[in-house]
Symmetry: C2
């Protein structure tokens, strides 16, 4: 039996290698990307649960910004429960599942394929039910993930979606080169960021609720960081866009209410800063992360990451700060991030 | 100065009349619905913030189930911040805004219209910036909403989306008749439901966090109820699909953690029940609402509503239980639901 949280931490630290393995399979992605691009302007339908759902948010921005393609988060229940008669014959479907065993995702893909959609499985297990159901399967190459709380699977889902979006735009090589640079930045930052997270985390030992805000590309990061904090630290952490915050939830903020903000150097930065100013005015304790963490005024804590070669890659670096913080905080709270109560690695729930 | 929360309560109680006013304008909806249907299978793009965003979730299911059309929650920031070059020339856009003044929604509609999309404004104010920017404007007919926390605007957004989806499917008359029946059910239930909410609410006076779960059509209700609790009661209430809960957040549940479940008689009921069983096993205190509230085992509290003439109308009744509960709880907590701190009626934030 390893030390509690040791698997989670070692998988977080293994993420640069995981991306590296994926980049060796770049050519597998090109043909599928071309098939996806061929179906535009029909929307690309992204589905997944948990971390895979957060990664799907990233896909919306990756396809939109890198390739000018409409990708949408699709409702699984609309198809699996309500059997809605959608015309999806010209759509591409990308189904995200670490295990490839999530029942309703498999069912969704089966129905979409029967209705003529081009279905792609993005999974770690090429022999899984999902892989066998989809028309094309792309290997996630994250390797076996033993911690219940996912890290490298999510990371490689982001990298895979960036490769697909890049491929659809005819710039696969450029995207792959950029991702390679990101792995170098990630390797360099892991040690100092882990130390810093370990210093900051204990102050949050008794926190019960939290908001995590991002915008655009970093909405995926907000969702994934909130999920890690919920799973591993038992904090009711809610992800919000910087704009959502102003439309209601800011009302719940009182003195010391913790708000984690992801600020990256891109077009959404001003909106994120504005949201943190409002949260601070309401009494929030701000944790600033992202490459533009230093731009957040009055942050009580800061976990900056390097600025990647293009804004589309920012979430790959930003999320690591949240993962390391969650790992350190779980430790401080005496919880085992590898085996959270109530959770299992493969979720078969409907 | 009226009694704190009096406006919110009177607007909640005015919802059957608000729907009634809308139903007198059904013919306005038919022409627009036909224009929307003409553009299929291109996705219908729904946008809004806060309550309007929750209503947009309803639109995804209304168009999908009633008309077999793909509607998607669209990212505003993808267009307004990143200027993604999406091909939207065959899309319909439905922009939801009570005031019609939300800046980034107006900007989004302007750009979508310039790119050839058919743009529709759904707003209370036909002279607003949004109405002037969109190609077509549909009157929401909710009337002036004076409480900062919205109720009848959200209600009429649901009814409007049902009318549009019904119109797109060529069954506008049937949908309007069904909605008329819903107003009768709502009128009958208001008094007893309000009393029951007043009895239950005080037990939650010191609650700080909560999960609100729904699935399918009722995801919109989960989002709206969570938002009401956050705005008016300062509870960090997070909306989740019944399936999301199992993929992580269940880990945060401990003894007495309140989970509000919306259970309606439709295809998703089994999934919602299963999620509540898991939450209860983790120690949650369950509040059951919806027409199938009685099907939730071990609920500590129950706020059932009548079963509507079709499942698609369930959210119009279910949400009222949450509104009345929020109104009663705000009162118990000594908060003024009409004027929550930090919030204003028209949110101009980016």
């Amino acid at each position: 039996m390893s030390r509690p949280g040791a698997l989670f931490l070692s998988e977080i630290r293994g993420q640069p290698d995981a991306i590296g393995r994926l980049l060796e399979r770049t050519s597998d992605y090109d043909a599928v990307a071309a098939e996806i691009a061929k179906r535009a302007p029909a929307p690309i339908r992204l589905v997944g649960h948990g971390s895979s759902d957060a990664a799907a948010s990233y896909g919306v921005y990756a396809f939109g910004v890198l390739a000018g393609l409409t990708a949408m988060w699709d409702s699984i229940s609309l198809t699996t429960y309500y059997d809605a008669k959608l015309d999806v014959s010209n759509s591409a479907v990308i189904a995200l599942s670490q295990s490839g065993q999530t029942q309703d995702v498999v069912e969704y893909v089966m129905r979409m394929r029967a209705r003529g959609a081009f279905t792609v499985a993005l999974t770690n297990d090429p022999r899984s039910a999902l892989a066998q159901t989809a028309e094309a399967t792309l290997p996630l190459m994250a390797g076996p993930e033993r911690s219940v709380a996912a890290s490298k699977t999510y990371m490689n889902q982001l990298a895979s979606l960036a490769l697909l979006a890049g491929g659809a735009a005819g710039k696969a090589r450029k995207i792959a080169d950029g991702l390679r640079r990101v792995t170098e930045q990630m390797t360099e930052m892991l040690d100092p960021l882990g130390l810093r997270a370990g210093e900051i985390a204990p102050a949050f030992t008794y926190v019960e609720r939290m908001f995590v805000i991002g915008r655009g590309f970093e909405l995926a990061t907000a969702r994934e960081v909130a999920l890690k904090l919920t799973e591993t630290c038992r904090i009711a952490a809610e992800p919000l866009t910087a704009t959502d915050l102003a439309h209601g939830p800011v009302a719940a903020i009182e003195a010391l209410f913790p708000v984690w903000a992801i600020a990256s150097h891109d077009e959404t930065l001003a909106a994120v800063i504005e949201a943190t100013v409002r949260a601070r005015a309401a009494g929030a304790t701000l944790v600033a992360s992202g490459s533009a963490a230093a731009k957040i005024p009055h942050a009580a804590f800061s976990l900056p990451v390097p600025r990647p070669p293009r804004p589309a890659f920012a979430p790959l670096l930003s999320v690591v700060a949240g993962q390391l913080f969650a790992a350190a905080l779980a430790r401080a709270r005496g919880l085992d991030a590898d085996h959270p109560e109530q959770l299992t690695k493969v979720t078969l729930a409907q």
